[in-house]
């Protein structure tokens, strides 16, 4: 479609817009955790006022709406022969308030899971959703500018940039345009565009952590290798808890497990998130562990994100969201490790 002009939606109209959407389909968006004020998570909004537009990065990324932490793949009976039931939910919903980095995380999984044979459950859930992005203010962990996601709009249907009163709305798809018909908007003028541009400039200026080399260089550095000292010193601090993986929007490794109903009538197979940092991730039944050393697992996470998947999909499998660094029990910071790698490579050269 040709790029339609941007619109402006004043704050009061925005609430009515949300209510109009919510009358038709569920809206999942950032809301404050009742148990932990000041912390936010993506959840179904009960009222339009639940939407917390100035939320800081959630602990768990919004990918959970398309691939739940524990997702039922199918259920089975224990009859002879067993009967399988795959229930696919097809009801539409809106995912609201996704930051540019998290849109990039969804894009990363779109690429990975659409490789044939496609992961149909992800694809089917993605088809249910309309995505409304939202621009943000960085905290001290964010480094989106270092991986080029600060102004990412892919994939989304509508994108909101906060303004003094309401939002500047970019329309990115026909579905987005159709959704926006429910809203009372006006055409964006030069001043509105300038205000949005100012928002983006301030945002970029607010990013603190920096890679000491461009991100594409990190792939080359990993490819050349000779980085064992950095892997080992990082591993010395790491607990192999897996928090860095389970909070990461681009991680997509999983486990598959069966569960049986207590009455033995049947059961179900589930897909659950998994982490390559856990000790048993590459352990086989004969007892051999293919990544038994912690530094091998640390190295693998880096090679996967910044080398293998980077080369395969032509983008780093890191969105700069900073979740892994925020979540790390050992205070290991991704940008810090990147810079140690860069320094080690420079010393070699």
């Amino acid at each position: 479609m040709t790029a339609p002009e941007n619109r402006v939606i004043p704050a009061s109209n925005f609430t009515r817009f949300l209510e109009a959407i919510m009358a038709e389909q569920p809206v999942i968006g950032p809301r404050e955790r009742p148990d932990q004020p000041g912390f936010y998570r993506f959840g179904r909004l009960a009222r339009a006022e639940d939407f917390a537009p100035d939320y800081g990065t959630t602990t768990v990324p919004p990918k959970k709406t398309f691939a739940a932490l524990r997702e039922k793949l199918f259920s089975f009976t224990l009859d002879s022969p067993p009967e399988l039931d795959l229930h696919f939910d097809s009801s539409p919903f809106v995912l609201l308030g996704i930051h540019p980095c998290d849109l990039s995380g969804i894009d990363a999984l779109d690429h990975a899971y659409s490789q044939p044979p496609a992961e149909v459950r992800w694809t089917a859930n993605r088809r249910r959703a309309s995505l409304i992005g939202l621009d943000c203010r960085p905290d001290s962990y964010c480094f989106c500018t270092q991986v080029g996601t600060e102004s990412n709009r892919n994939p989304c249907d509508l994108f909101l940039t906060p303004m003094e009163d309401g939002y500047l709305v970019e329309v990115h798809s026909d579905a987005g345009a159709a959704l926006l018909e429910k809203a009372d908007t006006r055409k964006a003028g030069e001043e509105d565009e300038a205000a949005a541009e100012q928002w983006r400039r301030e945002k970029a200026a607010g990013i603190v952590p920096e890679f000491d080399a461009p991100v594409e260089k990190i792939a080359d550095i990993l490819e050349v290798g000779g980085l064992t000292p950095v892997w080992k010193e990082t591993a010395d601090r790491c607990y192999s808890c897996g928090s860095c993986n389970t909070t990461c929007p681009t991680c997509f490794c999983f486990d598959m497990v069966d569960d049986i109903e207590p009455d033995l009538s049947g059961g179900a197979r589930y897909r659950t998130w998994d982490s390559c940092q856990l000790l048993d991730f590459a352990l086989v039944a004969s007892g051999h562990n293919f990544r038994g050393e912690r530094w091998q697992r640390v190295r693998h996470r880096w090679q996967r994100k910044f080398l293998y998947l980077y080369r395969q999909f032509d983008r780093p499998y890191c969105t700069g969201c900073g979740r892994c660094s925020r979540a790390c029990t050992a205070d290991i910071n991704l940008v810090d490790v990147a810079n140690r790698l860069i320094a080690a490579a420079q010393k070699e050269a």
Binding site: S90, S91, A129, G225, F254, D258, R269, S286
Partner: protein, 296 residues
């Protein structure tokens, strides 16, 4: 965005994680493994290539990757040979005729190179449960014997009671179609055959390095010694094939468990050329863990 997917609109056969039902036709207990013969409900063949595996579901227990140990030249059924190692494999060992399992696959783009092996001498080396995938290949070559040159098979088991396919391997010893060498690491009082690790008989075998293709399957540590022996015989690295084991969950390159550097063992393998493995540090580390090189 596109129309939301409707329940019925999702084509079940294209959902990779949904197994198809297969019925247990026969089972046979071997001292250290269970042999299971399976067939699909509609009697269609599995249509696999030697070296491929299937993901076997025992509902309620889970799934495990198991090599197809029969040959596609015998399509009436397909067979598995399973050692009880844990949750799923123990459940497979408990199956009886008439029971149902789920099957996904056959999977694995990296198979034994049956076309490349044509008109060449073929040397196969199996250690332990590694005999399972190779047995399918042995049957295949025996069924197409005229297409292949000399045919040599070396098989090492830990003890005499660990020998898989006991009767069949006895027949291979007599079979003029192949030179079969069988050895055990630890003999018992009745054992009259060879003793020693699998590389011992390998040392005796003279090969024509210009015209031989070798393939091996066995425990991770075995590969290094086999490779050393084969290279000593001047066999080039690109004519040596290894079938690898890793932890598998999805079997189709999604779950990440089986990754070996940039390769997914489930999808790119499980059979690889040694020449390609040599370029991968995560393969080398298994063979020579004391050397920590970490080039990708």
């Amino acid at each position: 965005m596109a129309e939301p997917a409707k329940n019925q609109a999702v084509d079940r056969t294209r959902i990779f994680y949904v197994p198809e039902r297969a019925r247990v036709m026969t089972t046979r207990q071997e001292p250290s493994a269970t042999f299971v013969e399976l067939g699909f409900e509609d009697g269609r063949p599995l249509n696999h290539h030697p070296g491929q595996f299937v993901q076997v579901s025992v509902f309620g227990y889970g799934e495990a990757p198991i090599s197809v140990c029969s040959s596609p030249t015998r399509p009436e059924s397909f067979a598995l040979c399973v050692q009880s190692m844990g949750n799923v494999s123990r459940a497979i060992a408990d199956l009886t005729p008439g029971d149902w399992v789920g099957i996904r696959g056959p999977y694995g783009r990296g198979c034994f190179p049956i076309d490349r092996m044509k008109n060449k001498d073929v040397l196969l080396i199996a250690g332990g449960i590694g005999m399972a995938p190779l047995r399918g290949l042995i049957q295949f070559i025996c069924d197409n014997r005229d297409d292949y040159g000399r045919f040599m098979v070396v098989y090492g088991a830990k003890t005499p009671s660990d020998i898989l396919f006991r009767e069949e391997t006895e027949q291979w010893t007599e079979n003029p179609d192949l030179d079969f060498y069988r050895t055990v690491d630890e003999p018992d009082d009745e054992w009259e055959g060879r003793t020693g690790v699998v590389t011992e008989p390998l040392k005796e075998i003279d090969i024509d390095p210009e015209n031989t293709i070798a393939a091996a399957c066995g425990p991770p540590v075995m590969f290094r010694f086999i490779a050393m022996d084969l290279l000593k015989k001047k066999l080039p690295e690109e004519r040596i094939y290894f079938s690898l084991e890793r932890r598998f969950k999805c079997g189709i390159g999604k779950c990440g468990h089986c990754q070996l550097n940039d390769l997914y063992v489930c999808q790119d393998g499980p059979v690889f050329r040694y020449a390609d493995l040599l370029k991968r540090t995560e393969a080398g580390e298994v063979w020579a863990p004391e050397k920590d090189q970490d080039t990708a």
